[in-house]
Amino acid sequence: MKRYQKFILILWIFGTTTMLYNQIPIAQSQAEQEASAAIQEADEKLTYVLKLLEEIPNYDEDIRNLTLQTDVARQLIKEAKDNYASSNFTISYQKATGAILQLDSIIGEIDSKIQSKTQNKIVVLTLVGVLAGLGAIVFSFLFISKIYPWYENKKIEEYSKLEIKYDNSRGDVK
């Protein structure tokens, strides 16, 4: 190998090593940013799930299971944060994305449950409203057609038994 060829080879090795060495912090910084963004997203989703769970009026067995799953996701976020603090950004990112996936699935399940409960509520309330309305109409009809005329007849019967007497001294009707 000629001298200038050796020189070019050394130069190339030096350049490549420098490039690779510079790339490591960039890659690490990228992993750190990804992990940080994933943790933030997971935190936001956890808050959203908690808001959904707070608004649920009845906690049946399904909702209790979803609450347990939410707690598992919370634990994953905590592990992601711990790993982030220890500069294990790749593991941190994996934990955070795992939490995000789990929370997305929980959000889907809660949404479908709320939707079906709302539909059931609408049906029940409509039924109660219609029945109450019908009851009121039937009662009004009965009152106007039967009870009130009966009361009026009774009153007339009672009035017919009365005798009008004039008392000139006081002017009262007896």
Binding site: L53, T70, G135, A136
Partner: protein, 208 residues
């Protein structure tokens, strides 16, 4: 027309208006019935939830009876001798709660309030790296009537806590030989998106 006859016509007319009053009463009764039906329905279907509460307790494990009991708490803690207790949180609120337990070491004379948490300036937070957090379902009506239960979706614990004091804490506590370890219960506020003090606390007074 005599005065008496006029008076009689007036009386009869007043009887006719009485009939109109009856009609008004009839309509009123109908309205009251309709309003009652709506009122009862709304009460049944839109029930207001009663206020709930959170419970925090400290327990000790009895090796002889193999049970947890609120008795025989540790009385001393040294830098070379840890003290062990168990904490338990129960969610008797009416919704899911995200709890956090904060443990603070303070002077024996430090007042503990349910209104304000102990400030960071007057305390030393133990377990800075170990956060105690848990999301709990609310207790059902049947569970609210139960007593002495240690497990369930609405219960956190009993969880063991190994209490310790290090040289830094000991050097900052000015009251001689005594200190207070306060356990404060916090809950996550989804509106403010941070933990808020619930006003629930327990504490241990220990020799050191």
């Amino acid at each position: 027309m005599t005065k008496e006859k006029k008076s009689l016509i007036k009386k009869v007319n007043s009887k006719l208006t009485q009939s109109q009053v009856n009609r008004i009463i009839t309509m009123s009764i109908i309205l009251v019935v309709i309003a009652s039906v709506i009122g009862i329905s709304s009460n049944v279907f839109f029930q207001k939830k009663p206020d709930g509460f959170s419970e925090l307790s400290l327990l000790m494990y009895n090796d002889l009876t193999e049970n947890f009991e609120a008795n025989n708490y540790p009385t001393r803690i040294y830098s070379y001798e840890n003290a062990s207790v168990y904490f338990m949180v129960k969610n008797f609120e009416n919704s899911v709660k995200y709890y956090q337990l904060q443990i603070k070491v303070v002077e024996l004379t430090q007042n503990v309030s349910s209104q304000q948490p102990i400030s960071a300036t007057s305390s030393f937070t133990l377990y800075a790296n170990d956060t105690f957090e848990k999301i709990l379902s609310p207790a059902t009506n049947a569970e609210k009537r139960e007593t002495g239960f240690l497990a369930g979706d609405y219960i956190w614990g009993p969880t063991e806590l190994v209490l310790y004091v290090n040289a830094e804490v000991v050097s900052k506590i000015t009251s001689p030989n005594f200190l207070k370890i306060v356990f404060e219960l916090w809950e996550f506020n989804t509106e403010k998106e941070n933990f808020q003090y619930t006003g629930v606390f327990v504490f241990l007074e220990l020799d050191y």
